[in-house]
Amino acid sequence: MRKLLLLSLLCILFQTAFAQKAPPAKISGMFVGMNFDRFAARMEDESAYRFFFKADEVAEISVNLQLTNSDLKDALDQIFANTGLTYTIDTSNQVWITRGRKLSMDFPSDYFQIQERSDLVTGDSDSLDAFAKNKRFVIGRAADNPQSKTATLSGVVYSIESGQPINGAIVLEKVNYSQIVTGETGKYRLTLPKGRHTIVVQNIGGFQEQRQIDLQGDGTLDMRIEENVLSLDEFVVSSGALSNVNKLQMGVQSISIAEVKRLPAVLGEVDVIRGLLTMPGVNTVGEASVGFNVRGGAADQNLILYNQSTVFNPSHVFGFFSAFNPDMVSGVELYKGSVPVNYGGRLSSVLQVAPKFGSSEKMEVSGGIGIMTGRLSVEGPIGENTTFIVGGRTTYSNWALDLLDDEASLNGARASFYDFNANVKHQINDKNSLEFTSYRSSDEFSFDEDTTYSYQNLNLALSWRHFFNDQLEGKFTAGYDTYDFGIIGLDNPLNSFDFKFDVKQLHLRADLEYRKSERHILKFGLHAINYQLNPGTNSPYGSESIVINKDLEDEQAREISIYFGDEFFVNEKFSLSYGGRYMLYQMYGPQTINLYVPDAPITEGNVIGEQTFKNGENVKTYHGPEFRVSGRYSLSTISSIKFGFNTMRQNLHLLSNTSAIAPTDSWKLSDTYIKPQTGGQASVGYYRNLSNNRLEFSTEFYYRYMNNILDYRSGASIILNESIEQDILNSIGKAYGVELLLKKNTGALKGSLAYTYSRSLLKTSDEPSTEKINKGDFYSSNYDQPHHVVLVANYELSKRINASVNGNYSTGRPVTLPISKFEYAGSERVYFSERNAYRIPDYFRIDVSINLEGNHKVNKLAHSSWSLGVYNVLGRSNPYSVYYTPVEGQLRGYQLSIFARPIPFITYNFRF
């Protein structure tokens, strides 16, 4: 104790003495690719320091720093970290730079440094986290494996607030930019040269933390970082930006829930899927549609996963809101370019919605009250090793309704929905843990008293994670996903009906990851899905109904995929990821299929018989490989090029004859006539950081081809069609485009500007068919919107107030317009142009919002925040669709907009 006191005293004296003699030597500025000579010269100009060094020793050093009121020592630590150079600053402000190892034997200059840093730590040893960035951690023992020049650093990144491992945090070594992204367990593993390093940890939200280490041998370092609070911008080496340049994948967009929450929301409902729409290459055909289109693909070509569960309809009330409760989501990641080998089953993209798990630290309640919904969630530990989180969201409430009871004109219209999540995590021991996630959403709405629509999602999944050893990690999941839809029509007791369809899948997954060496990460596994699908049932409702029961035969199929992939870090400049999947798909009986005249169009007239398959008998098998290759070549520390090539297969199709996903769209499995959709995408991108890493720029070009796409012949009827194959036109598609993204992750002003040029075209294939749309030429798909610009900006007025603006422009979507009219059956009728020959007017919208936060003390009892803003602040009537209707004998065109005027909103959020 005494010794400590003495040391502290000494330290203070030392500092005071230093401070007296030294001029206030705080340094600010940007230094990009500057050689050390010039850096030193500039320091000498700006301060009283004098530098002494051998020119040849520092010749290799390039300074890449941004400093804001920093000490020279900190800057030099950064510059010399891992270079073998060290320095001493004497009392006359003379900086002596020497080749470290030699000097350290006879001149213990860095001894002072360690002392000083350690001293700072000692004062607050009980809350290491907050000050850990200034401590130098000694990792491993030098005695272990002394002949090796490298050692492995591993550990787990946790959140200070929740105590949860952080998924997707980037752990980066600051000189050579070796880096890794943590997985779901928050684990990281880096192999570095022995010696001193600065390790930077950055969360997706753009916030970062750093640690000084002295790596002497293999060892572990767990880091706890704050998730939502912005870092103090002492050193801003934007590792997020670097990660964009350095990470292996391309065409991946991540958005943290914090970012989503900053965006202005429709009616105040924080919506992760709308957050996605701010990213290049993602757009939607209408505001009232949660269905989104990625790189010219149809909305059903996106695999939407909540943890490992497939969510079939991620929307509430016709798609006005996304069905994900923002409190139950930790972040979303969209793979639109190189889809990792462990995902498959859809053609366009994979949207991974990461669930939130309960805090291991303390019980917490959070919630929010908005115009439309209220939400509440509770989380916390149960015992030592188990955490839980449950959350729900629902529309309300009766008090408001009572006020409106007299509104006779709306007597029939009703809508209600809720969603509910419960996630439990149990740590069995160091090597085993269990995760249970569940999701339930339910909607019910009617426009009049006669017809009620309803749908439900249910997803359950249990995962067991097992660490076989340091290198091999496995995750085994069993899950059950269902979606069902129903309409009950009570228009007339005689014609009352109950219409339903549903899709169920039981899935088993084994995903293994083997870190073979520092240069190879092998991923392999097996996915098995058993589908059970009711394509449609219509039955009489009530005793008087004379509606005939119509039940389309259930469909069942199994899909088994195995995959293998390798992330190969070839060298510092070049990394390669390659792998493949092999998918076996089998539809099995009981099933009865029509037989058609071979090589003739599939029409009712060409039916030549039926074939019946017994229970379990194989109806049709499809199988085929999928390839995944991507690579990155670093041009410099701030720029890289990447390429990727993927092929994909899809066996589950959404039958949709409308431009947006309609609630009545039902699902269909590949069968004898409807082949699996297949497709491939090639992409190439260039990534560069600008303005000293404060800006990141990326551009990606892509080309996609798609086969066996479903389009529909004129007059196709989708609902309750026993022979849907007769109404489907086998089509091929192509899509291409370029995406430009400029992003600023640091500073008070954050934001991004994205521009996408993309085309998406379809063509009826050459297979025999009754109809070739647009004479068999390529035509625009319903979601072909060539130009798309999104601006997102968030300005931090203070740590507690930030303002956001979101601007969105896109070319109007294609429509088929009436171009002629004629008289038929006593009325004027319209004749339509070729499919999608025209476009609705362009879309342009600006939203603004302000978020007011409570204070940021981590341990404060209760936190609250307000969000308020205006959606579509310009009040522009962005047409969703156009239609024609006769008015006084004249056909008039009208455009229908959904949010045609500024929509203000306010939401109150709390957490305690």
Binding site: F318, A415, K821, Y824, G826, V830, R835, S881, Q895, R901
Partner: protein, 384 residues
């Protein structure tokens, strides 16, 4: 929760405010697509086929270029031809009793040298209408029909023409006689207090009988007349035509209906290209619109009297401001007030004990004269 409506109210409020005119720039191309409409009666009752062209969407309404001078005939499988007679205005009359077991092709030769053929047609005999009727319901009256499908006739199309009698807001038996300069009783041929109006309805009602047990289409709704509608203010008549459709015809009508009724709501289906069963012989890819039918149509007429649906309170937009004048026009003012014909004498004012009126109260022509909106000639089919 169940009664929750705020949600919809907000959404409807938003939706309500956002319908705006849309005038896209469409090349004023005159596509001149041939339009063929007709259902040829196979039992010799005169039926009409009409030929026309499409018009640009921006064109004036009501005028459709008709196609005269075409040579049209129906040809049996054995090559026997049944001519359709050009009766002007692009209409061609068919009047042949043909065998119902043969197949036929309709051929059209246009003056411009192109020719068109239908796919082979088999006469389709529509089953009889079993019953037509009406029922009063909460919102008004519903007209229904009952029929039964057969193995040949599964899909049905119902169209209807409506005729109704109505009275003006203010009835009068009087008129001003400019010769005698006096108000006299109207003669019965010149009544303006009871008129008839006929409207061909453009609704297409489609149904498939196999959706129901034993193909029995029970009380299919044909038309709904809401409370207050003028059509039931005196007496109403509806002539329902029932046509059995082949599968392809059913699709054609389905598309026509869909393309007419259901344009551009949020989840409406993509418009479909309408074709039919006719193609150009020279170039089969040339679009032609038209589904020619052959066979037998069934028709049934129904009358509904106001007494059968009363109480039926009528509100007619045109008559909203109609009142009887408060002042009385005296004999000496007849000429000045009634000569122009704008004001019509309606109520005689006869003092107690007098025989002749001292004057008349009057109302305006549009409130008194039903012929402004209909015809005072009773249709031939009308049954009182």
């Amino acid at each position: 929760m169940r009664n929750f409506r705020l949600y919809l109210i907000v959404i409807l409020a938003l939706l309500a405010s956002c319908r705006e005119p849309f005038e896209p720039e469409i090349e004023p191309t005159d596509l001149n697509v041939l339009v063929v409409e007709g259902y040829l009666d196979s039992e010799g009752i005169p039926s009409v086929l009409s030929l026309s062209y499409t018009r640009p969407i921006q064109g004036e309404s009501g005028f459709f270029p008709n196609l005269a001078g075409a040579n049209v005939y129906l040809e049996s499988s054995a090559g026997q031809r049944y001519n359709l007679k050009d009766i002007g205005n692009g209409s061609y009359e068919f009047k042949h009793n043909i065998s119902e077991s043969d197949t036929y092709t309709l051929k059209i030769f246009l003056p411009n040298g192109t020719s068109y053929s239908t796919i082979p047609l088999t006469p389709l005999i529509t089953p009889e209408i079993i019953d037509v009727g009406f029922v009063k319901n909460e919102t008004g009256a519903e007209i229904f029909l009952t029929t039964k499908g057969t193995s040949d006739a599964d899909d049905f199309l119902w169209t209807y023409d409506e005729t109704w009698a109505f009275r003006p807001a203010i009835t009068t038996q009087y008129q001003y006689d400019p010769v005698s300069k006096n108000v006299v009783l109207r003669d019965l041929n010149n009544r303006i207090d009871l008129c008839y109006k006929t409207r061909r309805n453009s609704d297409l009602v489609l149904e498939t009988s196999s959706r129901f047990e034993d193909q029995f289409v029970f009380r299919q709704t044909i038309n709904q007349i809401n409370q207050g509608d003028e059509r039931l203010s005196v007496r109403y008549s509806i002539l329902i035509s029932q046509k059995a459709l082949t599968k392809d015809a059913s699709e054609f009508w389905e598309i026509l209906k869909k393309n007419t009724d259901d344009l551009g709501s949020i989840f409406s289906p993509l418009p479909s290209n309408i074709r039919g069963n006719i193609t150009q012989d020279q170039d089969p890819t040339v679009p032609v619109i038209g589904q020619v039918g052959l066979g037998k149509i069934r028709q049934e007429r129904l009358f509904v009297d106001i007494q059968e649906v009363s109480p039926w309170l009528v509100e007619v937009e045109e008559y909203k401001e109609c009142v009887l004048s408060s002042d009385t026009v005296l004999v000496r003012d007849y000429e000045a007030r009634f000569k122009s014909g704008v004001n019509i004498p309606a109520r005689p004012i006869i003092p107690d004990g007098a025989f002749n009126p001292i004057g008349y109260r009057y109302s305006s022509l549009k409130c008194v004269d039903c012929t402004q909106r209909g015809s005072n000639v009773k249709p031939d089919f009308w049954e009182d």
